[in-house]
């Protein structure tokens, strides 16, 4: 996702070919209905008025294809894109549903595509290139670009348009969650609610389905639980009394903002704690003693 948004925007360090062809990142995780009124949710839609063409992306991290999903995509029409996905001007004149897969899974992916048979172009990530492996695009320039393989410097691909998703490890969430808590401290907010912090740190929150939200909340709660139990235990305390009315809530018990002096030292201490926290989440190794565990475990109620 970050890569293709960066390609459209001509992000520094990436090839600018998609940007030059006029592609823009149009919708993310946008659900609309096909001509049979069945829902499809491409992870990303790129649209180019210049090339009168759009791309509907599905990335596959594994080797399996969802045939029902592919079938639904095969019934998407240009009218659906115009009237239901609201694509502008000529960008809906032509389109391609595009499957992106890892090179090592390509054989099984191709079996799925050919079983349709579906005409969707299949891009594979192989070494330093993104390569067109099966079928072709309605836009000739894309066939040339991806047919020869689009060279990507993977080391410097932008990562921060969408910094994490539900598959991200906890430490990646913690990178964003703790600075958010610092912002609450500066605003002198007395407590953190799980609902609020989820909304504040997950850019896609409002469009996520209930299942996805629930997964994200579990992960965010786990990050804050560990923060409160270990490295940031002098700063946060779980408030069990508010669980029924407000869902999971943590009190901010120690705020550098309230200090008359030595604020700077306090912020630096928090920085050092964050370093330890990220390391502990990454490696699973923590040397600090474990405190009591007031946080409700799985199965206990959460009202939110």
């Amino acid at each position: 996702m970050n890569l293709f948004i960066g390609l459209c925007r001509g992000a520094r360090g990436l090839p600018i070919v998609l940007n030059q062809q006029g592609y823009t990142d149009f919708w993310i995780e946008y659900k609309f209905s096909n001509s049979l009124n069945q829902d499809v949710v491409p992870e990303l839609i790129l649209a180019s008025e210049l090339k009168a063409h759009s791309l509907l992306f599905e990335w596959k991290s594994g080797a399996n294809l969802d045939h029902d999903q592919l079938e639904r995509y095969s019934h998407v029409t240009t009218d659906d894109l115009r009237m239901r996905a609201m694509l502008r001007g000529r960008s809906a004149d032509h389109f391609d549903v595009t499957v992106v897969a890892k090179g090592e899974n390509i054989e099984r992916i191709l079996i799925g595509i050919r079983s349709g048979p579906y005409t969707f172009p299949v891009l594979i990530v192989a070494g330093s290139k993104i390569l067109l492996r099966e079928n072709s695009f309605a836009c000739q320039e894309l066939n040339q670009i991806f047919g020869a393989g689009l060279e990507i410097d993977w080391d410097i691909v932008p990562m921060s348009y969408f910094p994490f998703d539900r598959e991200s490890p906890l430490w990646m969430l913690a990178e964003k969650i703790i600075p958010m808590i610092l912002e609450y401290m500066v605003r002198r907010e007395p407590r953190i609610s799980l609902d609020n912090i989820a909304r504040d740190v997950v850019p896609t929150w409002t469009i996520l389905g209930q299942g996805y939200r629930s997964e994200m909340k579990t992960k965010i709660a786990e990050v804050i639980r560990q923060a409160e139990q270990y490295e940031f235990r002098d700063y946060l305390r779980y408030n069990r009394d508010m669980l029924g009315s407000f869902g999971h809530t943590w009190e901010i018990t120690n705020n550098p903002r309230d200090l008359r002096d030595k604020r700077h030292t306090a912020w630096r201490k928090l920085q050092s704690l964050q370093r330890n926290f990220l390391e502990a989440l990454r490696t699973g190794r923590r040397i600090e003693p474990q405190g009591e565990l007031p946080f409700p475990g799985p199965g206990e109620s959460e009202t939110s």
Binding site: R9, K31, D155, E175, E183, I207
Partner: protein
């Protein structure tokens, strides 16, 4: 001292400037900085349409917090005019007076006629103590722009690479560690050009102050001002015309505030949701280095140390040898800000609601402590520091 209106303040400062100018002409000397008009460009974190009462409340709270933190008695008073205030702070057995023009609730002009020796530390503390106020930071490009508005009569250069020691200073071809220089006179422009030449010290020649002679009315050169404009938003003026002085400053401040607003409107990253549709707005700003970073770990450790001058809190996460990510927190403004650092450039992601001041402050300080030629560009490679 109490001044009731902007007009009264203008007259008061104009008279003091002229008195000082007469003394200077007669005695060829001026008691150190006495009677020189000073203006500090201070950025308050308030919305542009904040009403008078809220601006006053904000100022009073900031001063109360300042008093609680540092023990200096501090108070603010309203005047006859909207968003024009007087403030007094007690320091070193003296009371210093500030006249605060918050016509733009976000970009304040803080005037004073008191001694810099006392005022400067107070304003340093005021701007760095909480998260509500900050100085306006002038990158080299803006100082060059303002120098071009009048006649350049002097300059200061300040560069200190020791703040970010990512190279071996003993190695051959190593950059200069430290450069500091003051030059007064009409050769300033020429000297600057020589020092900035690629065969000289282009990476270390960082303007920190320009002395500009300026006439608001080109037909009357007796009504002039000579302003020393420093990169941290402090301006000291002498001359015969408050009108010329304020015209120059407001021109400068408009350029600065326009840039801050451009950064916030065009580059801050926001996620627009409308009827279950999501799109991303904004793009990162690329801070571009003319020479690759010598040691990424050292660079990141110093820039993101929470300490002055950058005051960015963050834990660098090394993704590979050429890419480090920092989910940061700007201690100046109390907002998040994210970075992706490569040897050749740094992408800065400013979340919606964060402050453009953060970006300009980082760039300005990189010019003073890393490389004078640091630039900020959009994805098309256009400099955002064209003023």
């Amino acid at each position: 001292m109490f001044i009731r209106s902007r007009q009264e303040m203008a007259q008061y400062i104009h008279d003091r400037m002229n008195k000082a100018y007469e003394d200077l002409t007669e005695d060829q000397k001026l008691e150190y900085e006495v009677n020189m008009a000073k203006v500090y460009l201070i950025e308050a974190h308030l919305a542009p349409d904040t009403p008078h009462d809220k601006v006053f409340g904000f100022l009073s709270n900031s001063l109360s917090e300042f008093q609680a933190q540092h023990g200096n008695e501090a108070s603010a008073r309203e005047t006859d005019e909207e968003r024009f205030f007087n403030a007094q702070i007690r320091a070193e057995d003296e009371t210093v007076d500030f006249f605060i023009d918050a016509s733009d609730p976000r970009f304040w002009l803080v005037h004073s006629m008191d001694k810099s020796k006392i005022i400067d530390p107070l304003l340093d503390k005021l701007a760095s103590g909480g998260h509500e106020l900050d100085k306006a930071w002038m990158p080299v490009q803006l100082l060059r722009h303002v120098a071009g508005l009048g006649v350049l009569r002097g300059l200061s250069l300040e560069f200190d690479r020791r703040e970010i020691p990512d190279v071996d200073f003993e190695a051959s071809g190593a950059p200069a560690e430290f450069l500091k220089m003051q030059l007064w006179g009409n050769k300033a422009s020429k000297v600057l050009s020589i020092l900035s030449h690629e065969e000289a010290f282009p990476h270390e020649t960082t303007l920190s102050k320009v002395k500009v002679k300026y006439w608001a009315n080109l037909d009357d050169d007796s009504e002039s001002t000579i302003d020393d404009i420093k990169y941290d938003g402090k301006i000291t003026a002498r001359g015969t015309s408050f009108h010329s002085h304020i015209t120059l400053i407001t021109d400068l401040y408009r350029k600065y505030s326009g840039k801050i607003r451009e950064i916030e409107s065009d580059y801050s990253i926001s996620y627009d949701v409308e009827e279950q549709r999501l799109s991303v707005r904004g793009d990162p700003i690329n801070i571009v280095f003319k020479k690759p970073i010598g040691d990424m770990d050292v660079f990141c450790r110093h820039v993101f140390s929470s300490a002055n001058p950058f005051r960015i809190w963050g834990v660098p996460v090394k993704l590979n040898n050429r890419h480090t990510r920092v989910s940061g927190f700007d201690l100046h403004v109390g907002k998040r800000i994210d970075f992706e650092i490569t040897p050749d450039y740094m992408r800065v992601y400013l979340p919606a609601g964060s402050c453009g001041n953060s970006v300009i402050r980082i760039i300005t300080n990189l010019q003073h402590y890393y490389d004078s030629l640091v630039d900020a560009q959009n994805n098309e490679g256009r400099s955002l520091l064209d003023f």
